[in-house]
Amino acid sequence: MQLTESHKQYWSKNLRITAILLAIWFIVTFVVGFYARDLSFTFFGWPFSFWVGAQGSLVTYVLIIAYYAHYMNNLDKEYDCAEVEED
């Protein structure tokens, strides 16, 4: 079947948000991880990079996924791609 313009737009918006969220994921995990030794100023008792590893990154991950679900569910409706659900 042939995809419409609107469908292509939906997919490129999906790719864009995926890329942005993936970049955040990468920075929190690998960039902070790489510079962990330099980022050890005290943050409420923790060295900052220790805190990111133990708490900050986890909170970010949950937010990334929650935001993605929220964004995509709205995008589905906007571009008429949402499923019909029983409830």
Binding site: M1, W11, L22, F34, R37, G45, P47, A66
Partner: protein, 715 residues
């Protein structure tokens, strides 16, 4: 597709007649009562303990009650319907699928092992915390919604449809079995350990007791029973994990939210570490270990001569004692020492090398633990050696995080769970819930490690030996390799260097360390059992389904009726479970390594093929086959060449050649990029996939696609 319609209500609680909303309301009620019931049960046992119920009895009651409970849920949700059996009828609400995924995910390694690893390695252990949560970002962004839209039963299903044929499906089956089996052996081993602790039965019997609980559940009701049991198991394991930590936190800081305040405890631990490193008593003990290591080093220079000397000395002592008419116990001890002298030079060399490593480790500062808050070993501003150590340590940390993350996003038993939600929308939300429920435990584990360390450093160290708390003697009796304290420098005072502690007892011993009643220890063990059983359930089901659904139905006999496929799956489940129990009973050398290996294997074999399959239409059958085989191949090759236990199994004697200093557990860091590169290159030099395959990709990309007539979902 006769026999594959949704079963609707069949009378049982979890069958779920009526609409999805009603179904969810019913579930809320059941699980609220269930949680209340569990708390009352613990409370009642606590009162019984005060009235004199013995520890052994508490252990039996916890073991029996929880396993019976899981079996009960299994019986209530028994089914022979294919869609119910494979994907729980695709009506699991997002929240509950999140909880089920959480306990499917959190294994004995997460529940028991992780806080212990953090205790022993400090910052280095955070690789597991980040890796095992951050992977869900990849699941959410790259896989879950698309797999749900595709909507069949297994991961090889997707590979077979997307890459057009039985060869990719078959490679998928092999990889599923390899990953699942390696992982399930580790779980059953954990089950054996906990039942042994809880009920005091021999290890082998413990394994088969636990196996009974696993089998009743998944055997009768497949995915449906496993899902509802896993929700029940999640509730138990999270309560069991939280209570002791909260208690310790209140005891140490007066604040009931450990996650908020343990930063300050970490500061105190760091200050105490600096003191202990310079403490003269600690230095004294370490010097003794250093001397022992040196002596063993001398003996290793000429093993036969040293062995002869040892033997002669031991014989002489027995003879002397006998001649002097020494008391019988003294003679017996000397005879025992004589019997313990190694039989031959090879045995002596092996024993002394191990002993020397042990002594050398214990001569290091802080009982060989790195400083808790210090990121990576070595020093970037130090000399050549310190710089190399720093770089290697950092590279390994990041490689491990990478492998664990990508592996998380490629474990078939986790990905399968996202087939069970009612819609794509709920699949996305269910990843959020999954990570949230996992997050609760992972957020707590680093706090637990720091609080226990503070307790050990500030309460235990410096205590006279005769005043040490009772839990130390109790655990030493259970297994001296997990915990032992010996007054090395004979000053009657406990020094940190005088204790060896295994990571696996930290969580199990926390209630006793905090001075809680034994009933809480029983509950924590039951929580660990729940974690191990739920993961084993999910894994066994995945392996059995790969064999019955993918191999038998899709490849051997496509006309097999649904009921026969389910029956075959059930039979295979028993066979696989027994095989895994048999392997676990052999106590394979390195359990933690097995778990890590499963992640690297999964990452290298599935992740590139799955993500490119969804995001790159040009990826084709030839590329996927070559990519999966090469990715998995190089990962296995690197592990076999570098991991000591595997080198022994495959009889490899060439010197160990590490690539870029990467430890074998991070082997996936080579497999994943190679897998991607191979799929892309081979796909580009072979023809593009057919039109209907490209339409399939569009089909999975959009939750609803107007004008799309394709229907891949089987139900």
């Amino acid at each position: 597709m006769a026999g594959m319609t949704p079963s609707g209500g069949d009378g049982s609680v979890f069958g779920g007649g009526g609409s999805n909303a009603e179904f969810k309301k019913g579930l809320n009620k059941i699980y609220t009562y269930y949680t209340g019931g569990f708390l009352l049960f613990v409370l009642a046992l606590g009162i019984a303990e005060q009235m004199g119920l013995s520890r052994a009895a508490i252990g039996y009651v916890f073991l029996g009650a929880t396993v019976l409970l899981y079996a009960g849920i299994g019986i209530m949700s028994r089914t022979n319907d294919a869609a119910e059996y494979y994907v729980a009828g695709r009506r699991v609400p997002a929240v509950y699928n999140g909880m089920a995924t959480g306990s499917d995910w959190m294994s004995a390694a997460s529940f028991i092992g992780m806080a212990g690893t953090l205790y022993l390695t400090g910052y280095g252990g955070l690789a597991f915390i980040m890796g095992w949560t951050g992977g869900y970002c990849l699941v959410a962004l790259f896989l879950a919604p698309y797999l749900r839209k595709f909507g069949q039963f297994t991961i090889p299903d997707f590979l077979g449809a997307r890459y057009d044929g039985n060869l990719p499906r078959f490679i998928g089956i092999l990889a599923t079995i390899l990953v699942g089996f390696v992982y399930v052996v580790a779980q059953i081993y954990g089950v054996g350990l906990i039942t042994t602790r809880l009920a005091g039965v021999p290890f082998e019997i413990g394994i088969f007791l636990g196996l009974g609980g696993i089998l009743v559940c998944s055997f009768l009701g497949g995915m449906r029973a496993v899902t509802w049991t896993q929700v029940a198991q999640y509730i138990i394991l999270i309560i069991a994990y939280m209570i002791p930590v909260v208690w310790l936190s209140v005891k140490q800081t007066g604040n009931p939210i450990p996650q908020l305040v343990y930063g300050y405890q970490l500061e105190k631990v760091t200050a105490k570490e600096a003191e202990l490193i310079k403490d003269p008593k600690e230095l004294e003990v370490r010097a003794i270990f250093k001397a022992r290591a040196d002596a063993l080093g001398e003996k290793l220079k000429d093993v036969p001569a040293a062995l002869a000397a040892d033997k002669a000395a031991a014989e002489q002592k027995v003879a002397d004692l006998k001649a002097a008419n020494a008391p019988a116990p003294e003679i017996a001890a000397a005879e025992k020492a004589l019997a313990a002298v190694p039989k031959d030079a090879d045995a002596a060399k092996k024993l002394w090398t191990t002993q020397r490593t042990g002594a050398t480790n214990r001569s290091n500062q802080l009982a060989n633990m790195p400083r808790h808050a210090q990121q990576f070993a070595g020093n970037p501003d130090g000399d050549e050696k310190a710089r190399t150590a720093f770089d290697t340590s950092r590279r390994n940390f990041l490689a491990l995080v990478f492998c664990l993350m990508v592996g998380t996003a490629a474990l078939p038993h986790i990905l399968m769970r996202f087939y069970t939600t009612p819609s794509v929308k709920q699949a996305r939300e269910s990843v959020t819930w999954s990570l949230f429920f996992i997050f609760l435990l992972y957020f707590t584990a680093p706090a637990l490690a720091v609080l226990v360390k503070y307790e050990v450093f500030s309460v235990l160290v410096g205590t006279p030996f005769d005043k040490l708390p009772a839990w130390i003697a109790a655990w030493t009796k259970v297994d001296p390799t997990l915990l032992s304290v010996v007054d090395i420098n004979k000053d009657g005072i406990f020094q940190l260097a005088e204790m060896t502690i295994g990571g696996d007892i930290i969580v199990l011993a926390t209630p006793e360390i905090g001075g809680l009643p034994y009933v809480i220890s029983g509950m924590v063990a039951a929580g660990g059992l729940a974690a191990a059983l739920s993961t084993a359930d999910g894994l066994l089901l995945t392996i059995a389904n790969a064999l019955s659904h993918d191999l038998y139905y899709k490849m051997i006999d496509p006309n097999a009726p649904a009921s026969r496929r389910v029956a075959i799956s059930k039979a295979l489940l028993v066979v696989v479970a027994l095989a895994a129990a048999y392997v676990a009973a052999q106590k394979p050398a390195d359990i933690l390594f097995l778990v890590g290996a499963a992640f690297s294997f999964a990452a290298a074999s599935f992740f590139p093929a799955l993500t490119l399959g969804i995001f790159w239409k040009r990826a084709n059958k030839a590329g996927a086959c070559v990519g999966m085989v090469l990715g998995l191949g190089i990962t296995m090759y690197y592990m076999i060449m570098t991991q000591p236990w595997l080198r022994g199994v495959f009889d490899i004697t060439s010197p160990v050649q590490l690539w870029y200093g990467i430890a074998p557990i991070g082997a996936g860091v080579f497999g994943v990029p190679l897998g991607f590169a191979a799929i892309i290159l081979v796909s580009l030099v072979t023809p593009a996939p057919r039109k209907d395959i490209q339409d399939l990709i569009d089909h999975v990309r959009y939750p609803t696609l107007r004008g799309d007539t394709m229907n891949t979902q089987t139900n």
